[in-house]
Symmetry: C2
Subunit: 205 residues, 2 copies
DNA sequence: ACCTGAACACCGTTCAAGT
DNA sequence: ACCTGAACACCGTTCAAGT
């Protein structure tokens, strides 16, 4: 899809985006370990060396893919914000539910984003994308402090506590280490609410 | 190393353990994505097909490797328990520090254990190994409830909160998403203590 | 029982070459 | 500028064969 260039010839139109789209689909279908650069090129209908014109190597393509994941996650968290006008505690709880749901419904993307294949090491784009999540939580905590429901501590600190909790829930649930099978659709939401209730209790005054 | 069989011939002695040892070293040196089954066989001094006599495939070798990681982690957490006789709160905080330190000093092993390449899906051994961590935290929480420092709730629930928090800290720090470079040796410990302080506050009565 | 070597169908990456 | 095809040094896995 995307925009064709005006010329009728278009070798492929916008190969870069075509590759990212194909990559995202293959990621979801086959999993992070099974997706090859050659597969992506094949799915986009070009030779297996064509991607090198747009990405330095496979890692660069995966990095770009992870960034689209962050955009999507931030978008979903924003939706929670709009939908919920029920005060900071409820907002925090629902953000956690959304965060964990994103992880459970896009497990391979989530793994790509946080699993260590892509890292923030000197990557300003990645760092900015991930910090956007923290900024988001920071806003909730700040609002909660302002209306007196959260303890009057550094909002950034409280945001770190919140992020840590929902991220731990997501990663632990995905690994299956919690003893709750990934297939089970009901349990996760319940666990998230129970754990977040404790967290929120601790953050409240 | 390990035990030679009594016969002088010994094709390799105990190849299975030799492979696991070689695998652990290569994992730490080259990282999870770079370690190949052929590398492991090479390091153990056998042909690249020999491992198939002891492991069904590469995934099975990695799974066995992850299990040794769980044994090591549980051992380190046990050390914290013996060392600290300072009450449940302090014990929980130090357990979190130990948990995160394990992750930071054995990042590739930690990734292997929780990164999704190995999963609990119907794997009783993996589930038992990971549940041992939870049982461990459960004990701390139970003791804390008994002496009246923690809220009188289901100990398993409090243990899930605790595990979630330290695991979130570990994974978020490793990904670099927190904005704290992995190279920085001081910051992590500080962050862990700050976050755990909030968590413990919430768990306390 | 335990290990080897050839073989197969894949990889990621480089490079000269085509339009 | 953008893409192709051959080539290179790797993979994981299977299988007949050796001791």
């Amino acid at each position: 899809m995307a925009n064709h260039t005006s010329s009728g010839s278009y070798h492929h139109g916008d190969l870069k985006n075509a590759l990212l789209q194909a990559g995202e689909q293959l990621l979801a279908e086959k999993g992070i370990t099974a997706v090859s650069l050659r597969d992506v090129a094949r799915a986009a209908g070009v030779s297996h060396t064509a991607p090198y014109r747009h990405f330095r190597n496979k890692a660069a393509l995966l990095r770009a893919l992870a960034l689209t994941g962050f955009v999507r996650l931030n978008g979903e968290l924003a939706e929670v914000h709009v939908r919920e006008k029920l005060g900071p505690e409820r907002q925090l709880a629902e953000t956690a539910v959304g965060y964990v749901r994103f992880a459970m419904t896009n497990p391979e993307m989530f793994r790509l984003m946080f699993g260590g294949m892509v890292t923030a090491d000197g990557d300003a784009e990645y760092l900015a994308a991930s910090q956007a999540i923290l900024a988001w939580l920071d806003e909730i905590m700040r609002a909660g402090i302002a209306v007196g429901v959260f303890r009057d501590r550094d909002a950034g600190e409280l945001a770190q506590v919140a992020w840590t909790s929902m991220h731990g829930l997501a990663t632990l649930l995905m690994s299956g280490a919690m003893g709750i099978s990934v297939a089970d659709r009901e349990q996760p939401g319940k666990l998230v609410r129970v754990v977040m209730q404790h967290i929120i209790y601790g953050l409240s005054r």
